[in-house]
């Protein structure tokens, strides 16, 4: 049997794969490095702790204050609010479309939701300002409707399609076997959904939430416009606030390049990236746990 090697069979593209892959990884690494390198001077000048836990963000004040604690808190409030809004509603509507709605309804709703996922965020932001904010102001009797809640609702709205679409995938992917097992034990449809299907899809739903949250966390223009932008440490979700991304997007164009302010904005980007990494690590961990 002739099995001796007579030279490698490898073609050009195959040889190029490694370099191309490394190149694109270099690009991505470049992004991360851009954040780190450009952000580093800010950490150096301000001090890491003072930067992260500092209470005041006054980059153009004299002397400037570079404390992003209010921004971090705002980011969390807004993101958390968005989750509170988007997750139950997104998951619930996904359950409805996947399990209860007729196939026709299902095939229509899903693409429509996916379409909404690509509306430019300025439009969402403006919608927040001129449509939702006055409603909030009147209904809740607040001085202003431009606040964390407004941003949370809009971000939630933006995240709902992501959450719902991926959740729907996850729920549809739950094997028929499990449903059958539940029905065969005498459970009705509702019991089957609540006690079997949803728990079984929880890892997929979790992914949906993570991705929805990522979308919400990385979103700039919308929060910039809708959250009000006040820079104090927010006392509640009902006051104007200024999340990290809004700060980056709003101030990047005007910052004096090379100034501490400029570096600080990158440093915020880096903090955001770090939070994302932690988030994804956690997600990976939870997902692995869920599959066991």
């Amino acid at each position: 049997m002739g099995i001796k090697d007579k030279g490698m069979r490898k073609n050009f593209i195959e040889r190029m794969l490694g370099p191309i892959a490394s190149m694109s990884l270099v690009f991505l690494l470049g992004i991360a490095l851009t954040l780190i390198i450009t952000g580093m001077p800010a950490f150096r000048e301000v001090g890491v702790l003072k930067f992260i836990f500092g209470n005041e963000w006054r980059p153009t004040f004299d002397p400037p204050y570079f404390g992003i604690w209010p921004l971090i808190v705002a980011s969390f409030i807004v993101t958390f609010g968005a989750i509170l809004f988007a997750v139950p509603i997104g998951v619930a509507s996904a359950i409805y479309t996947a399990e209860i709605a007729s196939p026709g309804v299902r095939e229509t709703i899903k693409p429509v939701m996916e379409l909404l996922a690509s509306i430019p965020s300025v439009v969402f932001g403006f919608f927040g300002i001129v449509f939702i904010s006055p409603i909030l102001q009147k209904v809740l009797g607040l001085p202003t409707g431009l606040n964390g809640l407004n941003a949370a609702i809009i971000l939630g709205l933006m995240a709902v399609p992501t959450v719902a679409s991926i959740t729907e995938d996850a729920i549809s992917a739950v094997s028929k076997d499990l449903r059958n097992a539940s029905y065969a034990l005498g459970a009705n449809k509702w019991e089957t959904i609540v006690k079997t299907v949803v728990p079984a899809a929880k890892s997929g739903i979790f992914t949906a939430v993570i991705l929805g949250v990522s979308r919400a966390m990385g979103e700039t223009m919308t929060v910039l416009m809708a959250a009000g932008g006040a820079r104090g440490v927010p006392s509640s979700i009902f006051v104007p606030m200024r999340p990290m991304t809004a700060t980056i997007a709003g101030e990047m164009g005007e910052a004096v390049i090379g100034s501490t302010h400029y570096h600080a904005l990158f440093a915020i980007g880096f903090v955001l990236f770090a939070i994302n990494v932690i988030f994804n690590l956690a997600a990976e961990y939870v997902k692995k746990g869920g599959n066991k």
Binding site: V130, S133, Y262
Partner: protein
């Protein structure tokens, strides 16, 4: 050292920077190119910082800015052998606006300062209704804010619950939609649904701004590397010309004359 594809396009004028200046430059470019068909002008925003950085980096021919160049930027420029040159192309006044339901007619600069630093929190303190004042400002990094900071705040800290917005239009929309709101916008953004307040008894107008009786006035600049030359000079001259200044007025800013 240059990449082979880096070429100098002689018939192109590239402008970037302040969003405040954008309407002027855009319209001017539009009209200018109608006449000078061989010239290509591209107008980009980005913000005043980007405009000045563009000059320093040589990324553009003309940098728009709604604030004056800062010393740090000048130092940067010098270090790179760039010599920023400033030209004022228009003036702008910041009108103080409140919600139409507000009965306030006049306000002093000190009062504005008190409001924006948080010493005055309710309209009742100014003789109005007993409701909280919702303070709306431009973002601290915008050129507009720089001017407001210089003329009104005079170095004191802006209150932290102040609503910060990215654009004049947003300020206008927010004030329109919020009962207790107060804000400042460029003259071009005054519209129905906004109540304009006199400052120290003076109404913002072309005349009061040009003669500096209106306290809250500012200038809009373009920067070039060295005194304007060639196509850039031609275009800046066009803005400064009669036709150009008419555009300034049309767009809603205050012409230099």
């Amino acid at each position: 050292w240059k990449w082979p594809w880096q070429q100098q396009k002689s018939n192109v004028v590239s402008i970037q920077g302040s969003t405040t200046n954008l309407p002027i430059t855009q319209k001017a470019a539009e009209d200018y190119m109608k006449v000078n068909k061989d010239i290509e002008i591209s107008v980009r925003g980005g913000g005043s910082g980007v405009g000045i950085a563009g000059i320093i980096d040589g990324a553009c021919d003309i940098g728009n800015s709604s604030r004056a160049i800062k010393s740090k930027e000048i130092m940067n420029a010098r270090a790179k052998g760039v010599n920023p040159h400033e030209t004022v192309i228009a003036r702008d006044g910041m009108a103080i606006v409140v919600h139409p339901s507000n009965s306030l007619k006049n306000i002093t600069v000190d009062q504005i300062q008190a409001i924006y630093t948080g010493q005055i929190k309710r309209w009742s303190q100014l003789g109005g209704a007993d409701e909280p004042i919702v303070v709306v400002s431009r973002d601290t990094s915008s050129g507009t804010y720089e001017v407001f900071n210089e003329l009104v705040l005079k170095g004191s800290k802006l209150r932290t619950d102040c609503i910060m917005t990215v654009s004049n239009r947003e300020v206008a929309e927010t004030v329109k939609n919020t009962n207790g709101a107060i804000g400042y916008v460029g003259l071009a953004f005054l519209s129905d649904g906004l109540n304009t307040v006199t400052v120290e008894g003076i109404t913002a107008s072309n005349a009061t701004i040009n003669n500096k009786t209106y306290k809250l006035a500012r200038e809009l600049y373009v920067y070039t590397n060295g005194p304007p030359a060639g196509n850039a000079k031609a275009f800046i001259d066009y803005i400064l010309s009669e036709a150009g200044q008419k555009i300034v007025a049309d767009v809603g800013y205050v012409p230099l004359r």
